[in-house]
């Protein structure tokens, strides 16, 4: 191979030359209260090795017991993903040695997943408008998470070269759902968008089902991205597997960077090595890891410490009846009900404001006003504070109250912002903030007329212009009155009073 060969070919150029095929393995931590095979709590952030017991530490003699809620969650996910639910299936042991694995095997599922053969439709934006792509699901199964290693010393933060390593088994045994797609071909230039949209749709689905809150910053959703390229008309190429892809943005970047890297290799006459690559969030690229050509043999066999799972049709029907409205159906409904475009709805969804806006509308607020508050002022505040919208102290009821006060003229837009500022600062509810900050609109005509007179005296030339019919000059006087009332007046009312005072009418 030439040493002068380019390391990458730009994404769009690469996809003019090659057809991509991708597959995703997504691991999601389930939001159960206890672990997959013991009763230890799953709460995030505990002191290391405080949420452990003989079972999740894999102590000699301990035995696993399946968490029923985790099985239910998996079946519900399978149903939402249009999967077949197995009539009978088993757990399997995946054997390999690693210090974050208490038993040196992971209890997982192998050739008998609980759910298989489903699909998820995702929508991506194109220049010709939204396009629906069906992503086929190979399998959904459950397994246990490993502990968490921290490598001290050494330059890379990896186990090799570290001075010593610490291991926290609080995470060991937390239930994971693994959702594996079938190979997705034909996405062309949209491949990165489809991959990202699929993960986003899965995340929304998990949240809607209530099986996981999917906190990506806590590592509760992790992806492995498989990607290969082939010349049009040729069979599927050799794939790489990129691990450690842990955010929506990274999914997109991992696909893009792998398209760019593989296309350069293939164009230069090289070949793609079947390998595991590690994605680095900081640089947005992956580096080569272990080669799959010396793949580990996990020696899977049925877990003899557990009995098979055989969900009855009645139980499955019962779980099916608990499925909520799914995100895609909900989006179509809301577009119609709120009379908005898919793009406008996407703004709400991307802000994480869908439920909040819906509740606000249910509390009696107009759709436009509800969306305006949540995706505008409040979103900015949440972003500034680095928190989720839902974690702000502002509630749909607060917005409904403020909007009611605006409608009856007690508040204006500027005062309303100050009310929310007070609520967020913990000064109380809407009415308490208005009282303590003295934020009522000045509606006393005598007080407003006094302020108007004062402004007219201060700006006699403007007063003269208005009297002579130049009504557009009124703005200067209205502005002065608003200023002297510290914004607590209704500008339209001030204008009306001013014109009446000067005996002129609107042109």
């Amino acid at each position: 191979m030439s040493t002068a060969m380019p390391e990458t070919i730009p994404y769009d150029e690469a996809l003019n030359l090659f057809e991509p095929v991708f597959g995703l393995e997504v691991h999601v931590e389930m939001g159960t209260n206890s672990k997959m095979f013991c009763s230890c709590p799953t709460a995030f952030g505990g002191e290391p090795n405080t949420q452990v017991c003989p079972v999740c530490l894999g102590l000699p003699g301990s035995m696993p017991v399946v968490n029923r809620t985790a099985v239910e969650s998996t079946i519900r996910i399978g149903l939402a993903l249009n999967c077949t639910i197995a009539e009978w299936c088993r757990f399997a042991r995946k054997n390999y040695f690693y210090p974050d694995m208490p038993k040196d095997y992971q209890i997982s599922q192998y050739d008998e997943p609980l759910c298989s053969n489903g699909y998820l439709d995702v929508t991506v934006a194109t220049v010709e408008g939204p396009k629906v792509v069906r992503v086929e699901i190979e399998r959904v199964h459950m397994e246990e998470d490993t502990g968490k290693l921290t490598h001290a010393g050494g330059a890379t933060g990896r186990i090799h070269g570290a001075d010593y390593s610490l291991v926290d088994y609080n995470r060991a045994g937390i239930p994971l759902i693994e959702i594996v797609t079938k190979p997705v071909a034909g996405a062309g230039h949209l491949v990165a968008d489809v991959a990202k949209a699929y993960v986003a749709e899965l995340r929304d689905l998990m949240r809607a089902l209530g099986v996981s809150d999917v906190r990506m910053e806590e590592g509760s959703l992790r992806c492995d991205v498989n990607l290969s390229l082939n010349k049009p008309g040729s069979p599927m190429g050799t794939r790489s597997e990129t691990k450690n892809v842990n955010s929506l943005r990274s999914v997109e970047r991992a696909v893009r960077s792998e398209v760019e890297r593989q296309s350069a290799l293939l164009t230069a006459g090289g070949r793609v090595v079947q390998e595991t690559r590690h994605f680095h969030e900081d640089i947005g690229r992956s580096t080569s890891g272990r080669s799959k050509e010396q793949a580990e043999d996990y020696r899977y066999f049925p877990e003899p410490d557990l009995v098979p799972i055989a969900p009855s049709p009645a139980w499955i029907d019962e779980l099916r009846s608990t499925l909520p409205e799914l995100p895609s159906a909900k989006r179509s409904r809301l577009e119609a009900e709120w009379g908005i475009t898919p793009f406008e709805l996407a703004t709400v969804v991307n802000a994480g404001a869908l439920d909040l806006v819906e509740e606000t509308i249910e509390a009696g607020v107009e759709s436009a006003a509800a969306r305006k508050w949540w995706t505008g002022e409040l979103l900015r505040t949440a972003n500034d504070q680095g928190i989720e919208l839902a974690d702000l102290p502002v509630t749909p009821a607060h917005i409904a109250r403020v909007e009611a006060l605006v409608a009856d003229g007690s508040l204006n837009d500027k005062l309303a912002r100050q009310v929310f500022e007070g609520v967020i600062a913990g000064e109380g509810d809407v009415d308490e903030v208005i009282t303590s900050r003295g934020l009522a609109v000045v509606s006393d005509d005598a007080a407003l007329l006094a302020a108007i007179d004062e402004a007219l005296v201060a700006q006699p030339d403007v007063a003269e212009k208005i009297r002579s019919g130049k009504v557009q000059a009124a703005g200067a006087i209205v502005g002065a009155v608003m200023k002297s009332t510290r914004g607590q007046a209704d500008a339209a009312k001030v204008r009306a009073l001013l014109l009446d005072r000067l005996g002129v009418t609107e042109a």
């Binding site: 035995m63 040196d104 095997y105 020696r299 899977y300 003899p304």
Partner: protein, 501 residues
């Protein structure tokens, strides 16, 4: 009946419990007598790896306190017991006969230990065993072999040789064993004691350090069928911490042992376990026992179990496969032995050095066999085929139990062999379990009880009874009837003929 003035260690558990209940003897006296016996003979027998003198006396005294305060005591309260060192007991060393766990003290009690404690049974200590229960002689214990009280030059069977030797040496009237391929029954056979492998799932495995999870079963051991039944009824029953434990009422084994009646029962001889390969005296005592059972009113029928021929082969694929995975956790990272952690070795190297140093040759042999049998490309041929054989063996049992109530065979092909005789011949060692293994593969219940001495060597012979799953009571009906007839014939239990130590 009075036991005052007699040797407390020669009594049955039932008699001791009665004496403690009536106040004829205190639990502390009974325990002390056994501790004294251990002090005087265990240097030669080496049944125990750890004797918990203080804890044993303390729990005995608490039984005496309960009695004096008027509490109703359980059927075995205050009776001492020897616990196989493969079951966890909080704070007490649990080595599994391995260097790997030399200093490991588990932070939790196994289900069996919880139940023993709840029944006020006094746990004297932990007994020797082949490393991680792999063996038929205790010669694979990292702490040296136990010796057969009938002849100290001979093996006491294995893997639970320590528990059986403790019973035969009158160091304890009760013991707990575990049986993966015969580790309760074969030691019982060669020491002239009684041992039962309950139905798989009958006694919870929580806290039993796993050898082969789908085969392992803890069970009761004693010198009489009734004592075994009393212990059985205490440790058996559902435990939600073991998903494979059976959630159903425990068969009434104590009533069955008391009834001791085989009239009208159909007893099957398994053609495949009745052929060649048995020592002459073993075959002779087996035939005599059949005659006794027939005389007692049972009908003897021969039944074929053609798949038993493949049981040993299937067993030595399934057991090593599961063991290779179960024993992976012994890697020096979290507990037990750690070798090579001197700053110059990587994690992988420390794991390898630890496993190299911590496991004995037999354990390594089986881990390698199992790793091979599970590896990709060989799985179907080895592990997969073995599972099919297992299904066929279950079918053989099921069809046999359509025409008979229990099946019987000699427990082991020979009497106790000499220490060192088979240690270099793993296949000869594995053949010891030829008659006991089918039961483990099928999950049935089985008992071994002593039926005499082989004329050629004067060593005990064991008789095996096999029952369908959850029909453990049938073992006791037949076992107690046979034991009683033999007692009448000899005027004493066989164990009384063991030489003084």
């Amino acid at each position: 009946m009075t036991i005052m003035g007699s040797d407390l260690t020669r009594q049955t558990a039932a008699v001791l419990a009665e004496a403690i209940r009536t106040g004829e003897a205190s639990a502390a006296e009974v325990t002390q007598a056994h501790l004294d016996r251990i002090s005087s003979v265990d240097e030669r027998v080496h049944a125990f790896l750890h004797v918990d003198t203080e804890a044993a006396l303390e729990s005995a005294r608490s039984v005496d306190t309960k009695r004096s305060s008027g509490e109703v005591l359980g059927p075995l309260a205050g009776v001492p017991l020897a616990l196989k060192d493969v079951l966890t007991m909080r704070g007490v060393p649990t080595t599994c006969g391995s260097r790997m766990l030399e200093n490991w003290r588990p932070p939790y009690d196994s289900s069996v230990v919880e139940r023993l404690r709840a029944a006020d049974i006094v746990i004297l200590g932990k007994t020797n065993m082949d490393e991680f229960a792999m063996g038929s002689s205790t010669e694979h214990s990292a702490y040296g072999p136990s010796h057969n009280p009938w002849d100290l030059e001979r093996i006491p069977g294995g893997s639970g040789g320590g528990s059986a030797a403790a019973l035969a040496a009158f160091e304890a009237p009760l013991a707990i064993g575990t049986d993966t391929g015969g580790s309760i029954r074969q030691p019982a056979a060669v020491t002239g004691t009684v041992g039962v492998k309950p139905t798989y799932g009958g006694v919870p495995r929580y806290g039993l350090v796993a050898l082969a999870s789908s085969l392992d079963q803890a069970g009761p051991c004693a010198r009489t069928v009734m004592d075994t039944a009393l212990l059985h009824s205490i440790i058996a029953g559902y435990d939600p911490r073991d998903s494979t434990s059976i959630n159903a009422p425990v068969p009434d084994v104590v009533a069955a042992a008391a009834k001791a009646d085989v009239r009208g029962m159909r007893i099957g001889i398994v053609t495949e376990l009745n052929g060649e390969g048995y020592q002459a005296g073993v075959a002779q005592r087996f035939r005599e026992s059949l005659a006794i059972l027939e005389h007692l009113g049972a009908e003897i029928i021969e039944v074929g179990c053609p798949s038993f021929e493949y049981a040993l082969g299937a067993y030595y694929l399934i057991l090593p496969s599961e063991a290779s995975s179960n024993l992976a956790r012994f890697d020096g990272m979290r507990y037990g032995l750690r070798v090579g952690d001197d700053g110059s070795h990587s994690v992988e190297q420390v794991m390898s050095l630890t496993r190299e140093a911590g496991f004995g040759a037999e354990v390594k042999r089986r881990i390698m066999l199992g790793t091979y049998a599970l590896s990709s490309g060989y799985y179907d041929a080895y592990y997969g085929s073995a599972q099919k054989v297992r299904t066929l063996i279950m079918r053989d049992f099921a069809s046999a139990f359509e025409s008979v109530d229990v099946l019987v065979s000699p427990t082991a092909p020979t009497t106790a062999f000499k220490i060192g005789e088979k240690i270099d011949d793993p296949l000869a060692m594995y053949l010891n379990d030829i008659a006991t293994i089918p039961v483990n593969l099928a999950g049935n219940a089985a008992m071994s009880l002593p039926v005499g001495l082989a004329p050629e060597d004067g060593l005990p012979v064991g008789f095996q009874i096999m029952a369908p799953p959850m029909a453990d009571d049938r073992l006791y009906l037949v076992g107690a009837a046979l034991e009683s007839a033999l007692y009448d014939q000899w005027g004493h239990l066989l164990i009384e003929e063991a030489p003084a130590l």
